[in-house]
Amino acid sequence: MLAAFTGRFPSLVGRAGALMNIVVLMKQVPDTEGARTLDPADNTVDRGAVDPVINYIDEFAIEEGLLLREAHDGDVTLLTVGPERATESIRKALSMGVDKAVHVSDPVLHGSDAIQTTKVLAAALGTLEWDVVVAGSEATDSRMSVVPAMLAEVLEVPQLSQARKVTVDGDSVSIERLSSDGYDVVRGRLPAVISVVEKINEPRYPSFKGIMAAKSKPVKTLTVADLDLDAEEFGLAAASTEVVEFAVAPPRQAGQVVVDEGDGGVKIAEFLASRKLV
């Protein structure tokens, strides 16, 4: 079913009817509904302040991974880098139908930036056979939207990012990438890194059966040492960026609110004119 190709992670090569190995990236983040803040001790995200959840957009990545498995046969591995408590989110992903998980968890990773995280992800992917990596386009905490591009750069595989539709045909992948005025059709060969936007699909809820099955699915925990990485290159002290200071944003100056008495539209126009905005 799949033609041979010259990828670096060729689990599909030369195996007729081979399964597609799908890796979905997941980040556990503080719930956006909570009062998120930074930890004044080291200016990193305060992960204790608000309940942690699967990054919202990553649920669409998980669903897309499951849909790819259903369409092409194969298995879905969840890969996450995060503290011990990420196990809660891993369980949820497994209960949605993900087959197994790899959890890179190491105290030395605390405070790592996007580049360091990318290097850990790349090293963890080196321990797996994979054909496609599916990630969410953005995390709701950092909102940088850079890791999929960085990972494609590091792995030297096609970057197929900001996808609102993914189609795999043999070893060819094409996506519809969101643009400012529509979409671009972008194509590459497996292995590839895909990032998906929300609304690409409808993430499923864990079924009772899925929740029960998740309890016995394998979760492999890896440390930085397990990945043959130098601990000194990771974590806050070695990060390439630093939050120097932070403050609670001052609330916006309360404006004027009027009840419409038939001239609300005119009043807004007058306000805009007074501010020289029109």
Partner: protein, 320 residues
């Protein structure tokens, strides 16, 4: 003086305002040098770039920037950086440019910061995080800082003593790795001539109060009168009234325009996260308790179906 590279955003032969903002910010860090990617544009853009302080324009004329996704632009920018040895590289914080910045940071071994709302003279930046509830000062510790600046955050000002810009042609042969993702087709969806949401100076957004997809034309008419981009709340996108790329909010587009008009939007945290740093906010909503009024510089409690069209008419009248 240290060179500060600015990646130019242009539409045809017109330099986008985001670039003028970056050049203005770059002047506080050193001597701006503009980077123009694509064939034949540099000469046409040079006068405006020089007016805003660009002393040098690095022109990479490769025709392949639109044929392959993102990677060629990062490769070209890295090649220019190798030649110019800049003190920093600035790009506008749009979805594509953030990806260029990401790949460039890996190539240069540099730290990258995105969505800066101000660039300080010492190279640190201000950011607004967690839906605008926290402001942070961040800096790059490693390598040449790569900084993506949120559009509309900086007021563009021409240089005090504009000179002329020297155009330096740079030839960057693309690697095969940069050609891994091919752009097969651009498909524009019906948006008329409206500006792009992420860098528009004025944004008019509609929310659940609009009621139906057809009624969304009330928002579009107001936007067109103002020359504004059109946005929407998540509820409107979830209902399928408008396409996803119009969603303003935590998980959609973040906008920071001079003027944001929220029509029939209650102002849930999800939405506020994407527009809270707008300079002036106007709200029209029938519910006086709607949280959007806490943000609004001017709010009208009333029926959007009368207030918004009246505003459109009044603005049209004032333009005559």
């Amino acid at each position: 003086m240290a060179t500060v590279l600015v990646l130019v955003d242009a539409a045809g032969d017109v330099v986008k305002k985001t670039t003028l903002e970056l050049l203005t910010a770059a002047r506080s860090l050193g001597e701006p040098a503009a980077v123009v990617l694509g064939p034949g544009q540099a000469a046409a853009l040079s006068a405006v770039l020089a007016e805003y302080g660009a002393a040098t324009i690095y022109a990479v004329a490769g025709a392949e920037f639109d044929q392959y996704l993102v990677a060629p632009k990062a490769e070209a920018l890295a090649a220019v950086a190798a030649q110019a040895t800049p003190a920093a590289v600035l790009v506008s914080s749009t979805p594509e440019n953030k990806e260029i910045a990401a790949r460039l940071a890996i190539k240069l071994g540099s730290g990258v910061l995105t969505d800066a709302v101000a660039v300080n003279a010492n190279g640190s930046v201000e950011q607004s995080i967690f839906g605008g509830s926290i402001t942070v000062t961040s800096k790059v510790r490693t390598g040449v800082p790569v900084i993506a600046v949120r559009p509309n955050s900086i007021t563009p000002e021409p240089a005090a003593t504009p000179g002329t810009a020297e155009v330096v042609e740079v030839d960057v042969p693309l690697s095969d790795a940069a050609k891994a993702a091919t752009v097969v087709e651009h498909v524009g969806e019906d948006k008329g001539a409206r500006p792009a949401l992420s860098d528009a100076s004025i944004v008019v957004s509609g929310g659940r109060g609009i009621g139906t997809a057809e009624n969304f034309r009330i928002i579009e008419q107001l936007a067109d009168t103002l020359g504004a981009a059109v946005g929407a709340s998540r509820a409107v996108v979830d209902a399928g009234w408008v396409p996803h790329q119009m969603q303003v909010g935590q998980t959609g587009v973040t906008v920071s325009p001079q003027l944001y008009i929220a029509v029939g939007i209650s102002g849930a945290i999800q939405h506020r996260a994407g527009m809270q740093t707008s300079k002036t906010i106007i709200a029209i909503n029938k519910d006086p308790e709607a949280p959007i009024f806490e943000l609004a510089d001017y709010g009208v409690v009333g029926d959007l179906f009368t207030v918004a069209p009246q505003l459109t008419d009044e603005l049209a009248k004032r333009k005559e």
